[in-house]
Every structure is written in C-alpha cells, then in structure tokens.
Amino acid sequence: MNRFNQLLTLRIDPTRKKAFTYLGKTYQGAEGDTVASALYANGVRIFARSLKYHRPRGLYSLDGECSNTCMEVDGIPNVRAENTLLKNGMAVKAQNVKGTPEKDLLGFMDKMSWAMPAGFYYNTMHKPAMIWPIALKQIRKVAGLGKLAPDFAMTGKYDEIFPTADVCVIGGGPAGMSAALSAAENGLRVIILEARPWLGGFFEYRVAEYQNEVPLYQRARDLAKQVADTPDIRTFTHTAMVGAYSNNLITAFQIGGANDSFDQRYIEIRAQSVVVATGCIERPLLFDNNEKPGVMQIGCAHRLARTYGLLAGEKAVFSIGHDLGLEAAIDLFDLGLKISCVADIREDGQDPGLVEIMQRKKIPLLRGWVATEAHGKKTLNKVTLSTLQGTRDKEFSCDLLVASAGMTPVTGPLTLAQAKLAFDNHTGFFLPTQLPVKMHAAGRMSGLNDALAIEASGRCAGLQAAADCGASVDANLDEARTSLESRPGPVKGSKMVTAPVKGDKTFICFDEDTTVKNIKQAIEKGFDVTELIKRFTSAGTGPGQGGIPGHNLPLFVAQYNADPDVSAKPTTIRPPLVPTFIATYAGANHDMCKRTPLHALQKKAGGVFRRVGVWNRARYFSQDFTCRDEIDNVRNNVGLFDASTLGKFKIWGPDALKALQRVYVSDMSKISDGKIKYSAMCNEDACLIDDGVVIKRGKNDYYFTTSTARAGATVEWIRYHTRYDGWNYSMVNLTDAFGVINLAGPDARKVLAEITDADVSNDAFPYTGYREFKIKNTIPVRAMRLGFVGELSYELHAPSSYMPALWEILEDAGSEFNIRNFGLEAQNVLRMERCHVIIGAESEQRTTLHDVGLGFLWDRTKTDAKTVGAFALKQTEKQAGRLKLVGFKTEDSDARAPRDGSIIVDTKIRGYVCIARHSHTLDEVIGLALVDESLAKIGTKLEIYEDECGDKRLYAVVAPTPFYDPEAKRLKM
C-alpha cells in the first residue's frame, strides 16, 4: 500500500523500516508506526473478533477506546495495537479467534445472537443442575480475550517516580500547553502530561488555518517549542493519566522511549492545582453494523492520513455530525480519497466556509441524513443512508465509512476527582456541575472548537491554577477572559441518539457485543438505572470500559424513557482511565527489610533465615529442623542467640514513671536498683499484647524492652494512652541502637568471665540482676540475667556497631566450651520446655493476661494510674468459660507429638494445641494448649483431633508446668 511520505504532519519516518511478524509472516512498518498503522499499511483490515459473537473488528479510533485492535504482542495479551509503537522484531498475533481473524471458525456465533438476549446466562443452564458445571466449562473457554501462559515472565524495566508540582496539566494539546505556559510565567513548577508521544493534541495533525496563514499543525509545534524552552515546565509525553484522587494526587504511566532507562514507569504527582485539558473523543454513531471493519471515526481516518501517511480507503461515505467531519472530508479529498457523499446529521449550523469549499470541490453534502446500515460480509462494501426520520434512503458502495455522531468530552479526570455530571442541552455533553477544588477545565471539553478560544481557555485555566498556588494573576486573567469571550463559544452538539434503526445489530458497546436491543431488554426487565443496565448487559465493562458506550448509554436510556431533560447519568468512570500493566503499577517494588547487626555473621554460620515481621531472622542453623544439636548444646554447654530484634526504649523525665504505670500492668514504682522487672502490657480487653523487662538506670530514667513485634508501635502506644495528661516525659526508640546477644547455657558464666573484668559471679550478678560493664575494656554492655530458654543466661545489650566484634569475642572465648549458634526454632523449643509464653503463639485476640497464667503480674492496687486494661483484668479475673493456657504431656512418651494447631475436642471444639514437640531433653512429648477452662485441671485427659485424622485421636493429659527445671535451679545457678 502506498503511503504518503512527504506530508509535513507525518509522525512516521518511511525511510526507516521496522520488521515485525503477524500470523507467522514478516511485514514491514515504518519508524513511528503503531502496530495497528503498520498492519493497516500492510492491508490488514480485520484485527480481531469480538468477545461474544466473534464479529470481525477493525480500526475504529486511534486512541484505544475499544478493544477492536487488542492483540497479542510478544506473548502479552490485550495490547492495544492502535497506540502501541511498533518495534523491530515484534511478534503480533490476533486474539479471540479460532483460525484467523479473516476466517474464524467461531464466526457463526454472530448468527446466534437472537438466542442470547440481555441477561441470557441468568435464565439458562441451571436446569437441571447437573448441566451447569458442564456449561460453565464452555463459558469459561469462550470468555476472555487474550491468553497468558502461567509461566509468562514479563521482560523490561518498570520504574516509578513521585514528583511534586505546583500545577499539573493533563493534556498536551493547545489548551494544555497554553495553561502550562501561563502557570510557568508565574514562576511555578509545572508538569504537563500528554498521552501521545508528542505534544500538540487537537492542532497537531490538522492543516486548516490557525491564523495569518499559519496552519494549525505549525502552531502546535510552535507552542511545543515554547513549552520545551520553559525550564519550569516538565513535560511527560507518551504518558497516560490514569488516576485523579482528592487533594490533587494524579497518577499516570509513561512509556519509555529509546533514550529512557525504563520500558514503562508509574508516575505519582502531588500537585497544588490541576488543569484538565483532555479535549474530546468522538461519540460513536449508532446504526446497524456500526462496528464493521471499514467503519471508522473522523479522527481515525484523518490521522491515519496525516500522521501515518495512509489513506484509510479508496471510496468513502461520511456520516458525521460535527464540522470536523467536513474538514476531514475536504482534507482527505485533497489527499486523493474519493468521497461519494457526506451525510451530516445536522440540518443546519455547519461552518459556511467549509460548506463552500465542499461545493467548490463537488463533494456532495446531505444535511439531515445519517447512515443506517453498513453492509458487507466481513468488511464494508456498501452503506445505506437515510433521512433522520428514516423516510428516504440511498445506498452507496464504498470501502470506508467515516462515522461519528459528534464529540464527547473526556471528563474522566474530573469525575475521578468526584465531579458530578449533568446533561448540557446546548453541547449535548455531560459536563461537571461543579469543578473539584483546585481543579480547572480548559479547551474543547466545554464544547469549544475555535482555535483561539481553545488557547484562551487554556490561559485562563493556567492562571487560575497559578492563583491557587498563591500567584497574583488578576490582570493577566482579565485579559485572557476577554480574549476568550471575544471568540466563538461552545458548539451546539448534534441531538441524534441513534439512527432510525431497530437496533438488533446496532452496537452500543463493542467490547461486550451489547446492542441497542439488549439495552431495551434490560429496561423492560426493570433495570431503570444506567449503573444497573451496565451490570445487566455488561455494556461498558470490557477492556475499553466506558470509552464507546459512556455517552450514548445515558442518552439512549433517556430517549427510551421519554425523558427530555436527560436525567439519566453516565455510569461511574473508574481508574485506571487507561488499562495499565500490573508490572507498571508495581514499579521498582524495593524489598525493604531489616537486618540485625549480626546478619552477615549468622549467614556465614549457615543460618537459614526467615522473614519475621520487618526483620530477617535466623530460624535454623542446620538442615535438621528439629534443631536437636542446637538445643542440646544450650542445655549442656553454651549457646549464642541473636535477640537484637527486641524492642528497646529509653523513657525519662519527671512523669516517666506515670507513663509506665499507665501501660504496664505491674506496679512499676517497685523497681529495685540493679534488678530487672518483668511485666506486661494489655489492651483494653485485658488481652496480653506485650511483655518485657524494665530497668531503672537513674532517677526518672528507665530502659525497657518489648517483644519484637511490638517495637514499632510502642512509642505511639504510650503517647496515645497518655495524650490527655500533659505529662512531661521523653522517649527514644533504641531498638536499632543496641544489638542483643543471649548467651545461654550452663557454661555461660565461664565464657563471660573470660572477657570482662566485671565480677559476674552468681553472688555479684544474680538471677534477675542488671549490670553495666565493659567487654575487653572496650565494648559497653548492658547485661541482664534472664532465663527465657531455661538456663543460666545473660542478655547482653551492646551498641550495634560493636555487635560483630562482640559476637566474635564470645565465639572465641566460648570455643573451649563448644559454644555455638542457636536460632529461633531452637529457642522456641527451649522456652516451651520452660513454659515461657510467646505472645501470638500461646495467646491470641481472645486471650487475657489471666488466661496465659500471668495474672500475677497485675497489681490491682494502683487504681489511680488508670492502667490500660486494668478494668478488664478485674472483670475477667474470675470469668468462667474462657480458654486457658495449660501444659500437657502424652501418656505414652513414645507417642508422636501432635502437630501445632491441632484441636482439642469432645463433642465440641474445646481448644487447640499451640505448640507440641517431642522434647529430646526430657524424652517425652510435651506441649502447650489453650483449652476450655473446664479441661484445664491437671490430670484432665485431652482428646486431640488433628487434620486428616479421620476417626483416630491422639490423647494427652494436662500436666504441671514448667516441664523443665520446675524449681528454676538452672536459671539461678
């Protein structure tokens, strides 16, 4: 096919070829081509088959309002060929066809459409019930468009940016550029977003005169140059705006060019003020077979020629309702298109200048006429035109029908920002009744068509936006308003809703194959709201969303209901305004996690890591996940455990104690010097939410620890619960400032004694003691004698930067005692043998402090403290029917341990196993369970029901706790 290669408006470079494959054959396109324009240039007219009826579909618009040209490109389904730039080597396939788009074996479906009225599925295939699963399989198979392989891997780089702007302009046409320039003149940071790869919009492809013999396309380029030369304007082309949220958060995605580091990137803009200058698309003309390949919109035919150098057909008929149709007819005629007839819906009101040129060029014009049917087996070969009332008709053979009912404003960005729409009788548009705060509309959206008016409206909007940012713009704004008022205002829109047809094959939504007849059926069923009609008929729910039916559906509903005021509303537009890859939204997706100061050392030591909340922690130190060796070594020698993730805080000041009293259940005034105090925090339902130790380091100066999970919320929690009190205290989160090593095992003291001059004998540093000293005279440590794992142990808190050194010193000193690492799972078993609770493992939302047996921590006398949870602690103290934490053993020590999470039953569920293991240390099966109070007595037999156990049960007996070292001798040795 011959292409124009000299037009000044071209955006392709015909001299630079790009090869691609389609249906297994290699074709050539030009640089700048979209996939669709390249296919069109190679004679392809049928791009796909429709969803339901497998009707042939072709190029209709160039802006992707429908899925007609959705294709598979390089394995990616549903790619919009009409606005995807062609790249060398692309592999293009058609979708939703059995065979080829030309010869689709499922083409017969079109003949079945009579049998599938709106809501067809709801009323069929469920009787008898057995046929539904079979039908469902078939429905699934025929539904859906593209195919995606489960192992598909998206290639390319996806990035993201979060810029801030004073003014964000959506739309890089003449109005948008004018707005951006006006705003930038006020020294503001401006961002302009344009969906096409270039600025220029409505002017960019047109040769009509702007003024003083300058053509519109030249004006577009002049404006674009001004924009490029303005440093305060940041331009994003090939960037589709997809979301607008309150407070002017705008999202968009950009397709990367040859010099960009990304394939696509997500853009999230925070702007003070926004100008929406998105212009118009065309309102589809409703007539029979209105989506047959060969039927296309004005802009499509016009831009195919002017931008891509392609005449869309040889012989054309136009059925239009806007002067742009006349302008296009004249221009395309000049470029060599034969035009049999131009039917204009409007009886009058055409631009006399354009009418005169048409007369001069002998292009026949029928006023008050419209297309009623497109003919042709697969592609167009004939058109029937008739008067608006359908009283007379004429037929023309042709291979191109340029069809358009008029314009429809792209109000999506405004409605996303919660603007409400109402019908405007003059333009026939649904326009915002009120603009959202700090949002302004400019350009054609209001119905303007005059070039200078469009620019003036852009300047007005840009200045208003500047004023939102505090600029003083009054004088300029007056001038811009005057110049806007001096030009022609909004154009009167064509009133026609549908051509005079029955509508059986008149498609109001292409993507879902919804016809005008289907809409009537829905209304008759009682679905009188457009939103419900949309749901019932699926109109507007396909890949193009409301692009095709958005304007026509409410118009049709109003007409059908004889509602002259058009109170029907368009259905809600939802983001993304342009379908957007999940890869693009995901962007960079950095994995942000925390590592302890000992991460590298533990990794080297063979640690198997797990994500625990925000942290990466070593769970095992061998592939033996029972951790037998790790456990044995703690029990018999000495082990090292990285507890750096514990929350650590400093709280001080005159009212620090009051704050502690508020959140801790114990009486925190009773902390002895050199001692740790173990306590807990509850929520208002007495549920245990945290436990840890508190140390008093000086007057009004405390250091305390929390569980790993609570570290992030602790400051917030304490401040929250004291927010009315006006207390004077300070807090610093030192969680990351200190690493923690738990040195545990009978030989722990020997190891410690080797590396410090401090007296660490049992007398000088007894159980529950707290000391501060230096390791090797250098590393300052805060040392606590605790016993979480049930052995003599020291929790050493040291500055994080010293932790690797401290670890190596300990390993070195401990080597003669067989010191080794132990991980989270070993700790889990060790502490279970001692029956120390882990919050979240032995407690849940229903579990109070009393339920886990820690009620003794609660001090009931400090009522003045208004301790969080105290009221509920009192109320639940003796409450019957709660789940209580118990220890259990199996009767037979050779029995298998029940799996964690098994349930305890009789005729009902009575609780569950929190943890159970075969304890190597004790050589018996032990565990902890939350059980109904009635089963909590020592000696009670528990019936354990495991998943997949069938009729089999495991049995255990409630046993005294702790299991290991009940007299706590080892802790205190």
Partner: protein, 206 residues
C-alpha cells in the same frame, strides 16, 4: 584492645582504596572509581544525638542555638541541628574532630540507632523522587531544612543541605536495620544517573 572495631550497617560493593580507623570505626575515605558523581556516601560513623526536653529553648548543644521552628535546621561549628518538634531535635556531627559527649539528661546518643548517608551531586533530586514523595527540592524552603517522612516506605529524617538547579545535597537517617535495603534501593534508583558509592572524603569537599 586495638582490633575491636565498630562497623557501619552500610556495606558497599565498591573497593575501598583509602581507609582509616577513627574511634574504633573503620572509615572509608575513598572508593575505587568513584566517578564524577552523583555520590552516595556512608556517614553512619558520624556521631549523632537526640535532644529532648520540655524546655528545648534553654538547651544549646555545643553553644549552638537550636532552631525555633520544627522543620528548620542549622549548620554551625560542624554540627547540623534539626528541630523535630516542640520538645525534640537531632544533632548530627558532620565535620571536625569527635566532640566531647554532651552533658545532661536531654541528650541520648543515637549514632548506632540509625544509618546515615549523604546523597550529593547532580541529579540527586531525580534519584530521590524515585524513592519518595517528600518534596526535598521545594524552592519555597530555605536550606538547610528537615523533613520527617518516608523514603522507600521507611521513616527517615531527611535534610536538604543545599540545592541549586539539578544539584541537591541530601542527608538522611533511618533505622539502622534498614541500611542494606535502603542503600540497595538508592543505588538501584541512581543507576541511570551514574550514582556511585563514595568515601567520606567526597563529602568533606562540599
């Protein structure tokens, strides 16, 4: 004991060519092939304090007045002091000899609580906007200024030291545990702009 070292949470893959031991810290002064910038510089060894008091106005760390308004910073005598809120400020020691530890209950040393990096040179704002929606280059703000907010979803204290055109010098701290993730995210974001790790010497130049 001389071989007891303090280590930064930030580890770059680049090869150090000039290092020194300072107060037990292993400090890299220069890396191999640092290039022309922009640079990412680890300053985690630089001493930092949290200052909190009900009467912050009466406290003058090393005789520098803490800025009155939250969000303002001041750079004086080698210290960068950032007013965080009514009762709190952070003090970052940037240049010169290690100062004496301050006296009084208001001070808590937080050097080890955070990682501390500088992002300096051209296009640093372009790098930063890939990681945060905070307006680090707000022309309406007088440098140096402090923002407390998320970078790559991690809460940070960020100070814009200076900005002009494409150049922007940014300092920030976040919880120490995030150091490797954070540095990884920054280097990835900066790759297209030629961002490379640099030693402390590159920071001393600005």
């Amino acid at each position: 004991m001389e071989n007891i070292k303090r280590v930064s949470p930030v580890v770059f893959k680049a090869r150090p060519v000039k290092t020194e031991i300072r107060d037990n810290w292993a400090v890299t002064l220069e890396y191999d092939a640092e290039g022309p910038g922009p640079y990412l510089i680890d300053l985690s060894h630089r001493t930092r304090w949290d200052v909190q008091d009900g009467n912050l106005d009466e406290i003058t760390p090393w005789e520098v007045a803490i800025p009155e308004t939250p969000g303002k910073s001041i750079m004086e005598k080698g210290f960068l002091i950032n007013r965080m809120n009514r009762t709190q400020a952070s003090v970052w020691h940037l240049t010169g000899e290690q100062p004496d530890a301050p006296d009084g209950p208001a001070y808590t040393e937080t050097t080890d609580a955070t990682m501390f990096v500088a992002l300096i040179g051209r296009k640093t704002y372009a790098i930063a906007e890939k990681l945060t929606s905070l307006d680090l280059a707000n022309p309406a703000q007088k440098t140096p200024f402090l923002l407390q907010g998320p970078i790559a979803h991690v809460p940070c204290q960020v100070v814009t030291l200076a900005q002009s055109g494409e150049h922007c010098d940014i300092l920030f701290t976040c919880s120490r545990g995030y150091a490797q993730s954070m540095v990884g995210a920054i280097l990835e974001a900066g790759e297209e702009f030629g961002l490379r790790p640099a030693g402390e010497a590159a920071f001393s130049k600005i």
